[in-house]
């Protein structure tokens, strides 16, 4: 074993140690101590990751090293604890540790009044461990460890307020829906094992690279589709996106870290990581593109009507993930990762900002009761403003570059590029609209806190306010700005949201797209077709225009004439209800999958098969035996003469048999 200079395994291990310390002893620690431990180990992890990245640039990437002992060995098949650092994981590991560290800092403040402080940080560190394992694994199975592990962490953190049924349900839903995706991921891995005998990225991709692109539906397409289906679970794409909005039951920093910045992007990462396979499976790519594109617009429309600030952000996340998926689908993996990174910045910022807002007004999440917060919490307002403009795609903020890159690449896609682009641009408009709707409703106008509920959506509002009343039980004298321990990460993220996109300024805009060229060694993508500068700029202009349109519409509806939306929604009540209720997808799933399944299990399998058929048969055999026994016992009439008759007939039979036997 040569020396392991980078010791990549330390990067995930450090947060794990933190999690273990807090998990085992945290109950006896004071809050400060808990936070210190968590921050120390996350920070150390970040530092070690930085060191690894910098050193890695020197010794050359990819850097692939396994621990001296394997994880699983069965005959010739083995899975090592192997860690892998290339450009792709560099980006991911920095985003994860960096954003993660910031969010840890934020959480130290945000959660300071919550019960289960140690638990929260233990979970959060555990999440870091798994997420880092995911991005650093050198094989699919170890990646799967992280994959499932972040699911676990997500489950625990969503269910952090476990006294609420809704939170517990949401956690469970997240885990199970993810498991459905994992099912496909596992099958994909089995296919890989069966055909390549290994799960190590090196082995698999080198084997794959010797294969030619599939024109039809072949092995690689199958693997790619299965992996993709796995990714739809983690990255909340159609049809498995349903868990993510519900996941907002978790504490806000969790939403920021897990359900916006990092975990949900694991699917994108996995597809990018498997680009060698996907690139040779064009049909699978098409499917990815279509799913991404549909999810993007579908989620965006759902975001339009939400009134819960975090839910708006959740649908926005789904939508943005759809973008990334779409990017993968057009083989623009670096664009996807680029957007992943910028999205991590601004979406984390949005969530944290939203958290700061919620924190400020005592746990209220319904935007209809907010308003006018601009002056009350100015720092929050400004950072959210940055993030909002970033996500809406205004240059020169981060979101503009990454989104534009995706749209541009979509347009160039081999099949249906125009359609993808069109949908993408509409989504961009919608995104701009609902984000500014959020922005206006929250920060402008009058503070409506304490106003009566609007008639509809009473349920959602009620459950949220109730829940958070409990969570934020510490009385708020009034609206107040969050402490600096929370604001500092916001500011850093705001800066990143501004400058984060500059690493990927396309050639068309005079940049050199450093990001893409940095990533290219780690990505198996067809070379970008050279396009004229002019048209790329034109399309970029269009997208900015659309974003502006969204802003103006929101300005009109939610700033100038705030009473107008309710009139409009009254006019199109059906459609509005449809959108508000998320197209009733949850209900459909419930009606057509969950309920029938439970009914089948209870009525048919448990009561029917188990109790009636099997036990019934067995018990029936038992009682039949007893019945036979009772009948047979009736021979025992108690009458001596009848007994003698039995002896006589028996004797007759014996004699008859033996006479017959001897004559025969």
């Amino acid at each position: 074993m040569t020396d392991d200079t980078l010791k990549l395994w330390l990067i995930p291990l450090l947060p794990l140690i933190g999690a273990a310390i807090n998990g085992l002893f945290g109950r006896r620690f004071r809050n400060g101590m808990v936070a210190a431990v968590a921050l120390l180990f996350t920070g150390a992890s970040f530092a070690w990751a930085l060191r690894a990245v910098i050193l890695g640039q020197h010794i050359g990437l990819p850097y692939n090293k396994a621990l001296p002992f394997d994880w699983i060995v069965a005959g010739t098949f083995n899975v090592p604890f192997g860690f892998y650092l290339d450009q792709l994981s560099t980006v991911m590991v920095l985003v994860v540790t960096g954003v993660g560290f910031l969010i840890h800092i934020y959480s130290a403040g945000y959660m300071s009044h919550e019960g289960g402080y140690y638990r929260f940080f233990a979970y959060l560190n555990l999440f870091m461990f798994f997420m880092l394992t995911l991005v650093l694994a050198n094989n699919y199975l170890l990646m799967f460890v992280g994959w499932e592990g972040v699911g676990l962490a997500s489950y625990l953190l969503i269910g952090f307020y476990f006294l609420k049924d809704s939170a517990a349900n949401a956690g469970k839903k997240a885990f199970i829906v993810n498991r459905i995706g994992d099912f496909a991921f596992l099958l994909g891995m089995f296919l890989i094992i069966q055909n390549f005998g290994s799960l190590n990225f090196d082995n698999v991709f080198s084997a794959v690279s010797k294969m030619s692109p599939e024109t039809g539906w072949g092995l690689l397409t199958a693997i790619a589709l299965l992996l993709m289906f796995g990714a739809t679970g983690k990255s909340a794409q159609i049809p498995l996106y349903v868990w993510l909005p519900d996941a907002m039951e978790g504490p806000t920093p969790v939403s920021a870290l897990i359900h916006a910045a990092t975990m949900v992007t694991a699917g994108i990462y996995m597809i990018a990581r498997s680009s060698a396979i996907f690139s040779l499976a064009p049909h699978a790519l098409e499917v990815v593109a279509v799913i991404g594109c549909l999810t993007a617009i579908f989620a965006a429309t759902m975001g339009l009507a939400q009134t819960d600030i975090k839910r708006v952000l959740a649908y926005s996340t789904v939508s943005q993930l759809g973008y990334m998926f779409m990017a993968c689908g057009v083989a623009a993996y670096s664009a996807a990762i680029f957007h992943l990174m910028t999205h991590a910045f601004f979406k984390a910022l949005l969530f944290l900002g939203a958290g700061s807002v919620i924190h400020a007004i005592g746990g209220e999440q319904d935007m209809r009761r907010m308003g006018g917060l601009r002056k009350l919490i100015p720092v929050t307002f400004w950072v959210v403003t940055v993030a909002t403009f970033a996500i809406a795609g205004f240059p020169p903020l981060a979101g503009f570059f990454s989104k534009d890159e995706i749209l541009w690449r979509a347009l160039q896609a081999e099949h249906g590029g125009w359609i993808l682009w069109t949908v993408g641009i509409i989504t961009a408009g919608l995104t701009s609209f609902y984000m500014f709707r959020l922005w206006f409703m929250t920060f402008f106008g009058e503070l409506r806190l304490g106003q009566a509920n609007h008639g509809h959506d009473a349920h959602a509002a009620a459950s949220h306010s109730q829940g958070h009343a409990a969570d934020h039980g510490h009385g708020h004298g009034g609206v107040h700005e969050s402490p600096w321990i929370m604001l500092a990460p916001l500011v850093i993220l705001a800066i990143l949201s501004v400058v984060g996109g500059w690493v990927g300024i396309p050639h068309a805009m005079g940049g050199s797209n450093v990001f893409e060229s940095f990533l290219s060694p780690a990505i198996h993508a067809p070379a970008e077709t050279a396009a004229e500068r002019g048209s790329e700029l034109v399309f970029a202009g269009i997208s900015v225009g659309v974003a502006l349109l969204g802003f103006l519409l929101a300005y009109w509806l939610y700033y100038l004439q705030p009473e107008l939306p309710s009139r409009i929604t009254a006019r199109i009540r059906g459609l509005y209800a449809l959108v508000l209720n998320k197209y009733y997808v949850d209900e459909l799933y419930g009606r057509f999958f969950v309920k029938p399944l439970l009914a089948l299990s209870t009525v048919v399998l448990w009561h029917g098969v188990d109790q009636q058929m099997i036990d019934g048969t067995v018990n029936g055999a038992g009682s039949t035996s007893k019945g036979i026994g009772n009948q047979l016992r009736r021979i025992q009439s108690g009458n001596i003469r009848s007994y003698a008759a039995w002896v006589a007939i028996g004797g007759a039979a014996v004699i008859a048999y033996m006479t017959w036997a001897v004559i025969k």
Binding site: R633, G638, A644, A648
Partner: protein, 100 residues
């Protein structure tokens, strides 16, 4: 010359009549007597075979059978008396406390 089979058939008839009597009669004493009848049938066979085979042992057997029959009679009648004392009946059909 009487064919041996005549004796044997007579013996079989007596035996079976005894068995039939056991099945038909209701009085316990009569039933017991029918057993004696069966034994008598068997004895006839013994004696007939003894004569046929010229083996005296057949006669000895009859002697033993009679002893056994006597012993059985002593015990059997004592049992019958005891049963009569406890049940006040000699009808075998009424002695059916134990069943099933």
């Amino acid at each position: 010359m009487v064919p041996l089979s005549w004796y044997l058939i007579l013996s079989a008839i007596l035996f079976c009549l005894g068995a039939a009597a056991f099945l038909i009669k209701r009085n316990i004493i009569t039933i017991f007597m029918s057993i004696e009848l069966m034994l008598n049938g068997v004895n006839l066979s013994f004696v007939a075979f003894a004569a046929h085979l010229h083996k005296l042992s057949g006669h000895v057997f009859v002697f033993f059978v009679m002893v056994v029959a006597a012993a059985e009679a002593a015990v059997g009648l004592a049992i019958i008396i005891a049963v009569f004392r406890s049940r006040e009946t000699l009808n075998v059909d009424r002695v059916n406390l134990l069943k099933l």
